[in-house]
């Protein structure tokens, strides 16, 4: 069994007292000060994350956009240089290979950012289908990725790069400089807060982390691990590959149909998606809040109020912002309708829950 890999910033996390775990073959910090503290501080102030486990591929050359467009559901040819988009990669069945970000750097130059757990799979899937004549490079091993998220992130990042970032809009990216090092800076994130992601060569990872960490903690922010990363994204109903989406789920079922551009001439999965759209969905990924006090977890069975099985939990946890137990599940229609009462089997006991609107954070605004 292969040993987990230590990423460039490993020593920094250990020095901060992080609890390290093996994730997708890498040693990653799951928490530093505590999941709830990290989650709340990120939403109220700022959090800094090491995401170097994720994968980065560059696709370039004549026809790069056209070739990539055949493999993703969203439209990368319509992406202007300096912008990024979110898209699934689908199979012919419309099942999802991975959900990725695609950055356009130039007319025929793109960067794909993929999930850590799918780096090898995506490399092989895309590599086999992009065709010869294109340059396809894996920059993952040499790339450090640091995110700063939260209301103070713009102030922190502006200070770090020495520029006013007020004009860098959501899902835009540019080259910037931190600590005399060139970085890719994008206004993206997985928390639902304003935030930035910084891609830098691994040889300068520590220097860039140190600057951002000092600025983040200087305003009362904290380092945030994978534990709080999960609770933050769950509150936003952002899908986690392997939990909420996989090769057996389609983007339409997962509620990310907006990433599917049916007007594209062709892409892998188009026929299956058109068929599913025409026939109507049989199940849908829905958000629910527990009424009985129990925590829903991945894999727990869900039945309707009469005990008939209608689905299964894909993600679930305590929500530090809502102070409720929340979850996501594929529910057979029409049980995904808002307000539907469902029973979640927690340690073999049926516990009452209710389907709610998402993102869950929306619920905080109402009362």
């Amino acid at each position: 069994m292969a040993q987990a890999v230590k990423l460039p910033l490993y020593d920094r996390h250990v020095a901060l007292g992080a609890k390290m775990v093996e994730f997708a073959g890498f040693w990653m910090p799951v928490q530093y000060t505590g999941i709830i503290d990290e989650h709340v501080t990120c939403r109220e102030t700022a959090g800094i994350f090491d995401l170097s486990h994720m994968g980065e591929f560059v696709v370039a050359g004549k026809g790069a956009g056209k070739a990539l467009n055949k493999l993703v559901t969203n439209d990368v040819e319509k992406l202007a240089p300096g912008k990024a988009l979110y898209t699934p990669i689908c199979m012919p069945t419309a099942g999802i290979v991975d959900d990725i970000l695609v950055y356009r750097d130039a007319e025929e130059e793109y960067m794909a950012v993929v999930n850590a757990s799918n780096v090898k799979k995506d490399w092989e899937w895309l590599g086999a289908r992009l065709g010869k004549g294109l340059s396809f490079e894996n920059l993952s091993p040499s790339t450090v990725l640091v995110a700063v998220q939260g209301p103070q992130s713009e102030a922190i990042m502006s200070e770090a790069v020495g520029e006013d970032l007020g004009d860098l809009r959501y899902y835009e990216h540019r080259v910037a400089e931190i600590e005399e090092t060139q970085v890719r800076l994008s206004r993206t994130g997985y928390t639902g807060e304003d935030g930035f992601e910084v891609y830098v060569d691994g040889s300068r990872g520590n220097e860039v982390w140190d600057v951002l960490y000092e600025l983040t903690t200087g305003v009362g922010g904290v380092a945030v691990g994978l534990g709080a990363r999960d609770t933050l994204r769950l509150e936003m109903k952002y899908c986690l590959y392997g939990n909420d989406i996989d090769e057996t789920t389609t983007p339409l079922e997962a509620g990310i149909g907006w990433t599917v551009k049916m007007d594209k001439a062709e892409f892998v999965g188009k026929e299956a998606l058109e068929k599913q759209k025409k026939e109507g969905l049989k199940r849908k990924l829905a958000g629910f809040v527990m009424v009985d006090q129990a925590i829903p977890r991945h894999g727990f069975d869900i039945s309707d109020i009469n005990g008939a099985k209608i689905g299964r939990v894909t993600s679930g946890s305590y929500s530090p912002s809502l102070k409720e137990n929340i979850g996501l599940a594929y529910l057979d229609r029409p049980h995904d309708a808002l307000g539907t009462e469902i029973l979640v089997a927690v340690r073999s006991k049926p516990r009452l829950a209710r389907v709610v609107d998402t993102p869950f954070l929306k619920l905080l605004g109402e009362s």
Partner: protein, 125 residues
């Protein structure tokens, strides 16, 4: 932190013996490993526990863990306040974070539990 006057199990519970009654809870090591505790399910008063049997569940943000009865006996009290505010188990695992009080079936069994020194060695501290 492992008070000398308590006894310990290798499933990370502490035990305080007071005549015929034993009180137990989770050790400092357990609460640190668990992280933020957000849910506690305690057994009902009157239930008879077997040594090593499941006696409740503790859940942190990331996962659920069983609590095991360190000794056999009948439950005479459970900490409802902790069930309402599970974070107290992180804050004060040996005091306000106590979980269950039971009337021991065999008080002699308590002597067989680990001492603080043995527990510290067990967890590698």
């Amino acid at each position: 932190m492992y008070p000398e006057e308590l006894k310990y199990t290798d499933t990370h519970e502490w035990v305080k013996v007071d005549g015929k009654v034993a009180t137990f809870g989770l050790t400092d090591h357990a609460q640190k490993e668990l992280g933020d505790i957000v849910y506690l399910e305690l057994p009902e008063v009157g239930r008879v526990l077997t040594a090593g049997g499941e006696s409740g569940v503790v859940e942190s943000v990331k996962a659920a863990s069983d609590i095991y009865a360190p000794l056999a006996g009948k439950i005479v009290a459970v900490n409802d306040a902790a069930a309402q505010e599970p974070a107290v188990v992180n804050r004060d695992p040996y005091g306000a974070g106590w979980l269950v009080k039971l009337e021991m079936a065999d008080p002699a069994e308590a002597a067989k539990l680990k001492t603080a020194a043995a527990y510290k060695e067990f967890i590698g501290e």
